[in-house]
Symmetry: D2
Subunit: 432 residues, 4 copies
């Protein structure tokens, strides 16, 4: 067993990085990282520097023997890595703004991980990730790639299909739900078994088992007046959940409450601006804090950024792979027949046993019958988007757009596709 | 081989029946029907009488040895039947009007074979058809049931799932397309092989082969200025068809042009009334003609009623079953793995070889990848609707409604379901 | 539609060829062959000449405008062909003798289409056929390849897997059974529907339907004292057939009566010699006849050669493809999910509708449950043999040999493989 | 979480029971059993008494608060049980002797868990186990049934198919292999991941992973001269294992070395007698020891009985279910698509994560291609045997016998079946 580990963070200029550094420090005993390489591109040079300095101060404070390196030369960092985390944002928040705002003009949900916005983000991101994978194949073929980059389901599937890199997709949504559940029920997380069925940002919790007994109905029946700010499902229609016999993920609001969500998005766009714009401001404030040389720990304000638990999920996964822990985590992996109506090579988001060979998915016991169609339709859109991204194929992109459940017609799909491809021109070399 | 056949028509008071009688007369040599039993319910007594009298005059004119019987006692007719056609309309055109108009109030497509309207028609119809099947199981276990009754895909699937009756679902849409193709290409129908992929009212023609060569691209590329009134696809976006590599059925307009179709439906509702109301008038005019004792043949005006070729399809099917003809027809049958992402027990609408044992589906060569999700989603809704109909289960009905691609949200689904179940109360004893 | 056709026969020096010529002459109206190219290798030069001369005399007698060409240059013949029949025998009857006799020394069935013998024939033949396919891909990409060459199931599967040539595998066993049935029941073949389930030389007739009614039980119950020489199943144990509810093909004797068949093979080997040696004598006698310049028709004696109906099957298939006849024939085609427990890319032998695009398999209604394991095991051996043949891989060949149901142990498999590979050295360049 | 548990042992008069009692004592902290109910039938009254007395002495020695009850009234014991272990032997060792000796007379492997012997044991045992299940359904519906009774694969599958009892099948073979591996490699068991593929008594170890790296090839390459008495595979042909890329279970000797194993069985039968007879003597000696009132612990001699680790496997499983431990164990569970060429409702023997809801199988990474056929064939025989047992159907039993890979012909199958059914008459009420 290797006694020291090299961790590479690609897109390290992200405001999330301090959380990851904090995780590395906290779990040092079980995960002996000795080198952290922070990588970004020229456009992120300044942010990268800020993050690297803060990271060094945090590690110095901890007294641990971990070195921090920063570089714009990705290949230099990747050589011999054990774990590589990607958290890149091709086109940065500006492109996210387009993902969110352009669809709204057509009365279509604007969101960076599904629908037309998710497609654009996929088209921008997949070729870049596959380039990174080529470097990993060459320079660190045994490394594990932990992908945080959205749309995480598509990106993970693209890596599985077009590369030999060992890769897992990560999302903070399952761990967030489990943390809430743990607090709500007053039980440690390992006492709770929540069964996840679905794909990234489109999953359902089909059962919650405590001490061998299902508690799902109790959760569905929970009094309406309960209103914790981070409860993912307090606004669901009770009669509907009762019929569904599952708890949908937060992202399913875009499908199950399309009209209300669209109204809310339009309202926000008209007042506070797109989510991208809000995040931009939060990030600026965070970097303001990060630049303070007195700061030697992750600032509290980072938690409000959204994406809580992202790095906790990453550190837990690295720890379990490294130690062959065989505990259960909810991850994005190759389907391999687990969900029998999706292709074998689709990525799915389900419970897995994490071994040193990587995560092994566990079969589901209760797949809600009524969601199969929706799940198949969105996965279809994802797989088509991957093909379109890899081949720069507009026809396939049109098929993906037309057949996405949130797009109302071929006419709208054609217009959206034309406008969005044009807007994203600089980031879609394969299409132009 | 039986030398004389007994044919039963259930719902014979329909204005379509004279076409069926004409078919029986024309194909008498290959299909030696000797007894036609026309059955209807009390509410249709008068129409049944009109139809029976016209049928008798038509047969008398032909000089053929066929007897016509009319009855309100279904069981009396069914005894010993060889072929049974169902063309019933539970709730009559009044209920169809609700199917078409109520959804429009929620900005949802109103249609009697898909979406909320299709669901209501399914809920009303399936228990009645299964009752008829119980009679057939007892009184004519060897008979073939030809189901014309819409929603034909759901009804056929319900019969396969909940009865031992030998049954086939029929639609005029595939034969209509093939007739048009034959005329357009100037070739006899048997020289053309059109591959159908999908389910009733949701199919794609994935290839058209003539003399072993694919002509699909030629049809997709056909000049835009061609405008025959009955061309099913002249209004499709050419760029889209090119990307899809298939020709969608007319009914796919509801999915691919939802916004335009909805606008058209609302416009019609505001001016000419619902399709149900238009049909009601056409039917009244037809029955006016039928009552004329001088009329001894199917009147030309019937062809404008819509549903052309329905009875031609039926007669061709009976003829091929009776003669073990082994020709290819497009029919609704049990999936049995033909479309591998749909359940084995789903009904599908595909090409079949018609043998005396019934139709055997032929595997498809080109299943368009991008339509799998939509197809799975609509089939899911159909299967859930069947369960809801058989068990009178509102929860399952809600699941079906929520997950139908044309329904925008749980809130709308709840409201639509409540209003439509209430309106249809008289025809939904299992729900009330 | 092409008005004249070019037919190429590879391995035309076979004694079967006159039957094929007779078929071409008889069906000339529906299958307007104008050029027949007879191809063989140097070692078959003399036989080829004899066959070509006889063919010319037969055609002259018919008065039809068909030209006959003979050549040792395969590529010259293939250019622009419409149909290509392969009936080659790599290693000739001498190698067949080894296939039959070597296994007997180990108390294992010796047979040229299954078991160790079938494997050797597959290893010798598959690379040669794939070479032919490369020529067809280049010189006649639209041609149909009709493969008569044994082991026909493996060869067909290899062509589907490793070439883009349009290909069908043919066997005289299904047509032979249907001919016998037709005579036995006194009914024309087109009035009988026999359902075939399985793979080449390992199929079961799972139903026999006449006028829509199953006659299978009647055939199973047929009085034991009936003893026609060509009845394929009069020696089956009645109680067993009754339990099986299917009629096994003749070749299943090797599996269901292994002990008796082995005894018979050893007895024959000790007295009349191997089947290869018997055939060698018959062939010599036939060629003696063929050389007679007065002979202008297929001699009666050819029918005793075995393999009756082979060329009838071929001519019927070409005719139906050419005319897009859409009749049902039993052929070897790609599985594509028809038999759900075999791989999609396995070749199977089942009923197909023959269109101009080629044969489309029809789903089976009654797959006998108890034969799944045997069928899977033999198909596994076939697929492994193909891999071994293509890659010259001894390890895979060993796996195939060990896992064949007729091979009793790893030890015997190792010895047989070593001895047979050594013996076949001259014909297995990829292995040596 | 229940703080005290009730354990029922059915067939407790078995000589194995003291090992189970020892396990209960050793793991008392994690598995708080308070009541052990020992159940047997009238014929086992005396043995049951001996075992109960020994168990009481062992528990008294441990000082733990566990009560021991003995009864011939099964239902009395089952009421409210938490865990129920079945270790019955219908027909006792006498019937096992027939399973082993009768097939030898036909030159067929005689074995109590596969082939003709396994079938007879299945036919005798399955109806009795299903009767026990009816009692459990009524009297202890939440209990877990741990089935040790052979043929464990068939029995487990029968319970899953014909009962609602929560059930797992257990075998000592996987744990035995893992123990050996652990000792051989000098590593604790939890550091080793051995992937099991297959069904009970017919599995392959397709990979062995330590610290994320495959060690399979190293094990396959292990020097031939190594000869530990309990190494399961030192006698396998090295070239064969290298081609197979997996390690077969000991029981695969019956298939891969049929000739040698048959010779050995015949030799043993002629000298030491059948395995049943050997075991009978060992058991008599063990009971002699058990009756000694000074004995207060499991005697060493029990370990020579065979079946080592059986009760360790059982206690580990109960402990993990009780504590929701989520560790990985190799168990017999419902397939549910894990092995895609076997039916969903087949029992398979694979690695599972053991939760309080029961074991969840983990998908396999490396299914050896060449074994699919053999696996399918034996599973087919098992499923047919279950049907035959449940319905007392001789025809289905014949199908199972004929299609078992170790049975050479229909003739032998017929004779074996007749003779064995007759001999087992007293234990097969459904057949007679």
């Amino acid at each position: 067993m290797k006694e020291t580990l090299k961790l590479v963070v690609i897109g390290a200029g992200s405001s999330y990085t301090p959380e990851l550094i904090e995780g590395i420090i906290m779990h040092h005993k079980e995960l002996p990282v000795r080198e952290v390489w922070l990588v970004d591109i020229e456009a992120g040079r300044e942010k990268l520097h800020t993050i690297a300095e803060l990271s060094k101060r945090m590690i110095a404070e901890s007294g641990l023997p971990i070195t921090v390196a920063q570089t714009l030369e990705r290949r230099e960092a990747i050589v011999g890595a054990d774990f590589i985390c990607t958290q890149i944002r091709v086109g940065m928040l500006e492109a996210r703004k387009w993902d969110e705002l352009i669809p709204l003009q057509y009365d279509v949900i604007g969101q960076e991980t599904t629908g037309p916005g998710g497609m654009m983000k996929g088209l921008r991101t997949i070729p870049v990730i596959l380039d990174i994978c080529k470097d990993i194949e060459e320079l660190a073929p045994d490394a594990w790639l932990l992908n945080f980059t959205n749309p995480a389901g598509m990106v993970t599937e693209a890596v599985h299909k077009y590369s030999s890199v060992k890769s897992v997709g990560l999302c903070n949504s399952p761990i967030g739900f489990q943390k809430w559940l743990s607090e709500f029920l007053g039980l440690p997380m390992e006492k709770i078994y929540a069964e996840f069925v679905g794909i990234n940002h489109l999953h359902w919790v089909s059962d919650i088992v405590i001490d061998g007994k299902s508690k799902l109905q109790e959760l569905i029946d929970y009094p309406q007046n309960y209103k914790a700010s981070n409860v993912p499902f307090d606004s669901w229609d009770h009669r509907f959940l009762n019929a569904l016999k599952a708890i949908p993920s937060y992202y399913l609001s875009y499908y199950y409450m399309t009209d209300a969500m669209l109204a809310e998005q339009k309202e926000s766009a008209a007042t506070t601006g797109s989510r991208a714009e809000v995040v931009k401001k939060v990030e600026e404030e965070l970097f303001e804090l990060y630049r303070n040389v007195e700061l030697k720990e992750k600032p509290k304000q980072l938690e409000q950024r959204g994406g809580a638990y992202y790095s906790e999920a990453a550190v837990l996964l690295m720890r379990s792979i490294y130690n062959d822990s065989r505990d259960i985590q909810t991850l994005n992996v190759r389907n391999n027949g687990m969900i029998d109506f999706l292709p074998d090579d689709a990525s799915i988001e389900v419970n897995c046993v994490v071994t040193k060979q990587g995560p092994l998915p566990i079969p589901m016991r209760k797949i809600p019958q009524s969601v199969k169609g929706l799940l198949a339709a969105v996965k279809q859109y994802e797989s088509l988007t991957i093909e379109a991204a890899v081949h720069g194929d507009r026809d396939i992109a049109l098929q993906a757009m037309v057949h996405h459940p949130l797009v109302p017609s071929v006419t709208v799909a054609e217009q959206l596709l034309d406008e969005m491809l044009e807007k994203n021109k600089a980031f879609l070399p394969l299409f132009h």
